[in-house]
Symmetry: C2
DNA sequence: ACAGTTTTCGGGAACGTTTGCGATGTATAA
DNA sequence: TTATACATCGCAAACGTTCCCGAAAACTGT
């Protein structure tokens, strides 16, 4: 290991490590001439600051943790892109962890992130998380925390999300106006705030339009493509009077339903309409193209990252809840 | 900051830090009784090992760097899932960086990863990378390195890739057998090995079948959706005799072309056939569904991660090049 | 000339671990 | 009894920084 340290530079120049350290960080208390010499030999020796040592001394790393259910999901990948762009500029690095929609994984990941002495944490909770004590640990350790999308209202922390209730309401309102009456809902588990809000928005829109709410038309399941497949099948099997439209809690769920609908031989939107949530790019390419709600995933990540940076720098406890505006995207599937 | 350290435990129990440290790592030189007491009070005090201090002492962190062009691309997101699953089990954390298809970003990211004293590095190079000195720096610092997918044959390091030449050959062979004769190729930049190999496979398949190679039918461009759009348009504009099939270097490029083809009013596959590369899930949902080559992105990540772990643990210099098998997926678009 | 100020630098502790080596105590064997 | 072995633990250095504080050197004004 030919690792060059600050001491090597100091020895070569007959200086102390203090001076070299200061010179490298442009401290005014060291003469301009020395600063230049130090920087020059640092380059020559290919010196690289040891970030680990710096972090230990500072008591905190320059790494922020990002905890998501699954990176492979376009929605979270987009969010990560937003986070990454912001953090890159701020000279922070990103440690990425997946819960894989599993509570135990989530808890374990939080634990190791705390051990890494991360400068901040951003998380979107798993589908199955019902207890939140692990996030209290984060706060106990004075680590700035912000939730995004799948937020958690029990923990006092900032968050970035969308107005799921309103967006779902508007979408269902649109379906009703289009003439659909038996509108089914492939819902998520109700412990997830976003799932619950979308369900409530759905229900409220029905009531607002005096369309009777039929519990038979609601299937509670996961948020992913596979859940959409089984969701549609159980829904279609158990309904004597078939639904004429489906509002899926997420686009992946809609895609799952989409494929099963086609297998069944039904035509979209003539036999049954379909709508999703989050504007996955695939939705624009399928036929018929998918009606959905645009969430601007990239922006969610960007804003959440900026929020985190704020609370890291200003060291403020202020809790801020930001709402990213949504947009109803009307396409051929309805 | 109520940070509990090993010293706090030592003080409380009237032990030395050495003993506590050894007790926590189950060292046999400390009595079973002491080990238990130490572990008990560690729990009580909510002690968390400071990974930064451990890393400094060890001279290396437990973090591995992953450098990809863009996380938001499904292909890389899948790979990351594979990497993540393997590394999680091995108790390594993942620091993720994006080059955004930009050479300068790539160089800068490599530099900061070295400064982080990462335990290993996995990279898929950017579209525009033509010089590779920054990877020599990685090797100079004795950091195990493995390339995946967009590999780099100039640097002596392990790699995981697919047989792009053969897969492209087989795909074009299939197109020829289907009766297509004016087969165009939306190619990638030739500095990328995967792009070059796919092009060469394409060309070889034509020659093998005595189909004349027409340079006019090849457009060299990027690897993303936008590139597919402009690629198709320039291709279609400049050809007097229109192509009857298109082989796109990646699925995103195929999707870009797909959309423009539909805008033009052409029918796939009757007016023009279309094929991609990498089996993006979207390809199965569009209509007509996309003929492509399955690359098993998840496996690429998995195998690459295992390769890296090997060279970290065994500290061996052996360079291994692994090839992940591909599979031709014949669908409606051809 | 001197005292006072400013500029420039070094000594050394601290961050939280790990680990080689020595010290102590106890048990075993002759 | 003494010598030897083993079990258990502590001391202190080391990892590479940063930064407080003090010291030396240079400069200022009278």
């Amino acid at each position: 290991m030919s690792k060059i340290t600050i001491t090597d530079i100091a020895n070569k120049l007959n200086l102390s490590t203090s001076t070299v350290s200061r010179a490298l960080s442009d401290h005014p208390e060291v003469s301009v001439r020395t600063r230049e010499i130090v920087r020059k030999t640092a380059r020559e020796l290919k010196y690289r600051p040891n970030i680990i040592a710096q972090s230990l001394q500072r008591g905190q790393s320059n790494i922020i943790g990002v905890l998501v259910p699954q990176v492979r999901h376009v929605f979270f990948a987009e969010i990560m892109a937003g986070i990454s762009d912001v953090m890159e500029k701020a000279r922070y690095n990103i440690l990425i962890c997946q819960s894989n929609e599993n509570y135990e994984n989530e808890v374990r990941n939080v634990e190791t992130l705390i051990q890494q002495r991360i400068a901040g944490l951003m998380v979107s909770i798993s589908e199955r998380t019902k207890h939140f004590d692990h996030f209290l640990q984060v706060l106990d350790n004075k680590i700035p925390l912000v939730f995004f999308d799948r937020i958690c209202s029990v923990i006092p922390a900032s968050s970035v999300s969308t107005n799921d209730y309103q967006a779902a309401f508007d979408l269902v309102q649109f379906l009703v106006e289009k003439g659909y009456r038996r509108i089914a809902h492939l819902a998520g588990f109700s412990n997830l705030q976003i799932a619950q809000q979308r369900f409530l928005g759905y229900k409220a829109a029905l009531e607002y339009n005096k369309v009777p709410f039929d519990p038979e038309l609601v299937v509670e399941n996961g948020l992913n493509e596979e859940d959409g497949k089984v969701g549609f099948l159980t829904l279609y099997k158990r309904c004597k009077v078939k639904p004429d439209a489906i509002f899926a809690v997420t686009d992946p769920v809609a895609f799952g339903a989409f494929q099963e609908i086609k297998k069944t031989g039904l035509k979209i939107p003539d036999d049954i309409a379909l709508a999703g949530f989050s504007n996955n790019p695939t939705g624009a390419m399928i036929e018929p193209s998918l009606t959905t709600v645009n969430q601007s995933a990239y922006d969610i990540g960007k804003v959440a990252a900026e929020l985190l940076l704020d609370s890291i720098k200003n060291n403020k406890q202020t809790i801020i809840h930001k709402i990213i505006p949504t947009e109803l995207i009307k396409r051929q599937s309805t």
